[in-house]
Symmetry: C2
Subunit: 411 residues, 2 copies
Amino acid sequence: MKKIAVLGYGTVGSGVVELFYKNREKIEQKAGCALEIGYILDLRDFPDSPYADKFVKDMGVILADPDVTAVAECMGGVEPAYSYLMQCLERGISAATSNKELIAQKGDKLLAMAKAHACNCFFEASVGGAIPIIRPLHRCLAANDITAMYGILNGTTNFILNQMLSEGMSFDDALKQAQDLGYAERNPGADVDGIDACRKICILSSLVYGKHVYPDSISTTGIRSVSLEDAAAADALDGAIKLIAAVERLEDGRILPLVSPMYVPHANLLSRVDGVFNCLEVCGDAVDRTYLCGRGAGKLPTASAVMGDVIEAVKHQCNVFSQDWASAEDQSFVAQPEAQTCGMFIRLTEDYGAETIANAVAPVIGDADVDMIANACVISARLDAAQRDAICKAIADGGMQIAAWLPVLDA
Amino acid sequence: MKKIAVLGYGTVGSGVVELFYKNREKIEQKAGCALEIGYILDLRDFPDSPYADKFVKDMGVILADPDVTAVAECMGGVEPAYSYLMQCLERGISAATSNKELIAQKGDKLLAMAKAHACNCFFEASVGGAIPIIRPLHRCLAANDITAMYGILNGTTNFILNQMLSEGMSFDDALKQAQDLGYAERNPGADVDGIDACRKICILSSLVYGKHVYPDSISTTGIRSVSLEDAAAADALDGAIKLIAAVERLEDGRILPLVSPMYVPHANLLSRVDGVFNCLEVCGDAVDRTYLCGRGAGKLPTASAVMGDVIEAVKHQCNVFSQDWASAEDQSFVAQPEAQTCGMFIRLTEDYGAETIANAVAPVIGDADVDMIANACVISARLDAAQRDAICKAIADGGMQIAAWLPVLDA
């Protein structure tokens, strides 16, 4: 009988406990041994819980029990989660965590500690909730040179953008609905300002490119400025506006991670990922493109990913794969949006007419395709910063005013 | 320096060799040791190959070399691949195979042999080509009770159905185009008759439900009878016809695997998976629905999956996870289509009019939703065999004739 401990009894932590007892037989079979939840750490009291006898307030109790094989960290925030996990790993107790803020800030340190003490720090649940992403990236696609990743990694903003388009709701109304449905927090900044998506692309970039990318290094734009008019124009141009967390490897060897609303053409499956679903497109030299899609948040979906990690941690009491990445004080390998090449979705302040738009941009883009409606256009060809500036200038010179422009995701 | 051997130098085998030398540094880093392709087994001669010195015709040479740690089996067919892999596994040499026919027929035996000799038989490439499916199912989703899986698992048929819809091509013309493009074999039976998809759902069913499901046990219908009229009617009814390999767990504990063309509503992401792409929808009690999507075949995509397995096999020289399943002479746990409940897509031989159709089916289905056009309808509610018979009878009694009916995939 091996013991596991659940740290934090909020939405995800209580989901882990619920899922364990629901599917215990299956979980023990996969783990190859009898398992029990030995402790649940939470500062609050749960006297009426069926697991009341398992609650402890002192991490020391868990650390002192030699039967504890793995902990499921579902507390959120950097501290005290970070200190607790470092203490666990130092003792050879493996960790499974859903905490993206923690991994985005301290992943390098945690993984190094796990490696040094022949145990594991798994974090499948930290990106894309229930969706298998970390293992597929690191193992199944291990033989690939990963050239880019593009993800819808925040369900709340995807829900809001979806409601704006399908229901014609304003951003504020859609946000309020998301809050009423429990998708968005009362303080929705981490979601709508792109901070949550930024943490996730940090984790994926660090994992794939081998050096820790810190959230501060990443240009992050949320969806507050996306208007109903933008959504409608994108739809008329056979696409959708999505908050995309992206990372591309540039020709000079640097990487360019980025969080921004983007125009996604319907030819790309990402445009079809609606509601609170998440999806990651992975581009590799051998696989071409792979899409991993599912529920990116929620009690049981996230618990599913945490328990998958717990099973592997219990089964393999050695450091099972080299998923560590190097600490990187020097972040000069991280490029900024000036280095980006991308197509442009441009919405104008009024209906100037497709022909007027075409005449203005034609001299700059030459033979490249432009799709136009009366008040907006999509240039799919990738343009560098100078070319983008030239387009903006040509439109202004043509007597038109740009209401908004967004990068275009490749089809 | 650990040696690997590639068995078979056809499309996939040559892709494995190409990918290894292309990304060797990355692959060795992930494997944690220096690697070399020691041998390539093929009965043919390749005197002009840059790897000419590696070719052998005698499996005994490979078996006799104690430095060989893993083999990549890309020969196809059951024999001699089966005998070769059993000999490898018996000696503790791990195997990575892309051979779906082999795993569908002999997976139980190979996995038992690997377990007995503390090595691994991996088969990520056997289902969905480049798409991470086997590991995600067995590991990331390990804590779930998997209730159903629905997959587009054959790219050739998906391409053909796609061309029929988007280009208005007949089945025969679309098949010819697929052959000209190299997607379909000159003898296309394994693809268009559903045999390839059947093998893949065998593998997934065995893996998830723990008992070997043999191809003979699975009701398999290909796409030869799907007409242009069916494709057009499905499109008009906001869906697409796809060849679906499915397995559902029934309430009585049996499982129902099945290969059949189905109507997929556009609300389900599977309807958007076009061309030669594959996609698997996995339904679990905790994850709800997860979609894994990408290139299901091709030289480098398949080689990517094989090399991912090779890396893990080299890195972990112990049986790393309990993915074995039991042999099962008694296949009575496998139900047949009579036990299926499903919605119905019905196309009639002529335009009887939506109202006539509605009047005929209403008495049978009561309040359930029906979408109709003049010559076809979709009943989304799940019906059992008796209810389906009643619908067919009601349509006949209403003076109409059914041209075709197909099961409906849930939205």
